[in-house]
Symmetry: C2
Subunit: 299 residues, 2 copies
């Protein structure tokens, strides 16, 4: 057992999964859970994701050796700033938010002596919510991006890396701004587009949806408040991503308008080869590439 | 056995699945397969999707009681026009194309006496191709849209309805133009958008894609030539759908530009409720509604 007391603030799908994975892998002796909704806390307790329920966040964080903040991204910075002065010396704070730059910028250089914060983003989850969907294997073979700054101590970076690896995740170290620019393209803009596509639906069209529509819009069933927070934190990179998407859509539109078969064929073939590249790059190859890149950056 | 000789022109994923389902359900005594690629024909034969291989399409269609044309949508009309004069009296021709209006318009009133064509679109399939992915249960619980015209004889409509039901599908009768306008929104525009999203990828971004990106862009792995044909056949309805999508995207963009939390929240909540409606409407309820609607139209 590497961690005496692990505190999870926000025991939803991600927080609950961290608790389950930490317990089942023997990573933490005690897991304390903090949340606003009693029903979620009781469900997390019942499922064995946490050992003790705390309503007072500061009290739970005060006891933590490691604390993971799993609340909506726009709340994390304030919660870390409120909690940090109460932490034990040597305490490590991290999070599971989908955007990193604003958070890391806000917190950089503001931790009390002996207390550390490093941003984390586990690329795992689903459109489902709540500890009832928590899964001890949620992070298995997935990737967690860690975004240290120039201020981050090497030992602290090693601890947060070891933490996510112990939960089953691969780890990639990235600059927070680069993370946000990248995730705008691989997650946040696609989410916005899926939401915009879903609004094309009317009740009469529902029977005429097939697996294509369902997959393309699946993420639009995600929690609106959570995603509003993500969108607001990463709006600049998303606006740039929307510009690029708009240019791509325009190319298709022009080819459609002029019934230009050759261009449509070429555009679709290009998209197919990019999409196929995701399937073709097996997990092990991708992770090898990541580790090489990650080591390079840290060297 | 209701059909003595069933001919399938184009034994890919859909054609192969029709053959497998027809054989396994005892719907057809002989299944003849026609195709351009010998490898596909041999694979379909090997898997039991067809009983006999024909390279001469006219010869195979000449023997058919029912023939299903499963080639790319922009080839179907010419193939039906070429085959029809060779058909036996009483022969029923149908297809499995994703667009219907241009096809039905082209063929209406042009069948020889005793030969019938009715358009069909089974809403089933995947981004995969070829008879190696054929599945005898592909149509199980799925929907097939049938698009008769004012010229379509009631007995012929009953036969084509019975054919798809015997393969496991539910059936909805619709006007061809309405089908195309609807499918532009539920399938063709989403496909174009998935393809445009896939082009945001660069090799470095691949490890940062998660299930969200993969699902949102899955259909972009589909066959470019097949989808170019669909796009060209349904370009007017797609352009109208792209306009509606563009207006939705603009609403999101304006809210992002002005950091308008309330609007983002409202737009995302609206998308979620529309997307949730797909899951909430269970198959049986949806199909009941469809059957009621279908009966209503035919009354």
């Amino acid at each position: 057992v590497a961690i005496q007391t692990l505190t999870i603030v926000g025991v939803g799908l991600i927080g609950g999964s961290i608790g389950l994975a930490a317990k089942q892998r023997g990573l933490a002796k005690r897991v304390l859970g903090v949340g606003r909704r009693q029903a979620s806390l009781q469900e997390a307790l019942h499922r064995g994701a946490i050992d003790e329920v705390f309503v007072d966040s500061l009290e739970a964080v005060r006891q933590a050796d490691v604390a993971v903040i799993c609340t909506p991204v726009d709340l994390i910075a304030d919660q870390v700033l409120a909690a940090a002065p109460h932490c034990k010396p040597g305490a490590l704070l991290t999070d599971a938010g989908s955007t990193k730059a604003a958070l890391v910028r806000t917190l950089d250089g503001r931790m009390p002596a002996g207390v550390s914060f490093v941003g984390s983003h586990p690329l795992a989850g689903s459109e489902k919510r709540g500890p009832e969907h928590a899964d001890a294997n949620l992070f298995d073979g997935k990737l967690t991006v860690i975004t240290p700054t120039a201020q981050t101590n090497g030992d602290v970076l090693d601890r947060v890396t070891a933490f996510w690896r112990a939960l089953g995740s691969e780890v990639l170290v990235m600059d927070a701004e680069e993370h946000d620019r990248s995730l705008a393209l691989t997650s946040h803009v696609p989410h916005l587009v899926a939401a915009a596509l879903a609004t094309l639906l009317t009740p009469e069209l529902i029977p005429l949806t097939s697996t294509g529509f369902r997959d393309t819009t699946r993420v639009a069933a995600g929690d609106p408040a959570l995603w509003t927070g993500i969108f607001l934190q990463n709006r600049q990179a998303m606006l740039a991503g929307l510009d690029r998407l708009g240019a791509n859509l325009d190319r298709f539109r022009q080819a459609l308008e002029s019934s230009d078969r050759a261009t449509l064929d070429r555009l679709l073939a290009q998209s197919k080869s990019l999409r196929d590249a995701i399937n073709d790059s097996s997990l092990s190859v991708r992770h090898q590439a990541l580790n090489d890149k990650s080591l390079e950056r840290r060297a």
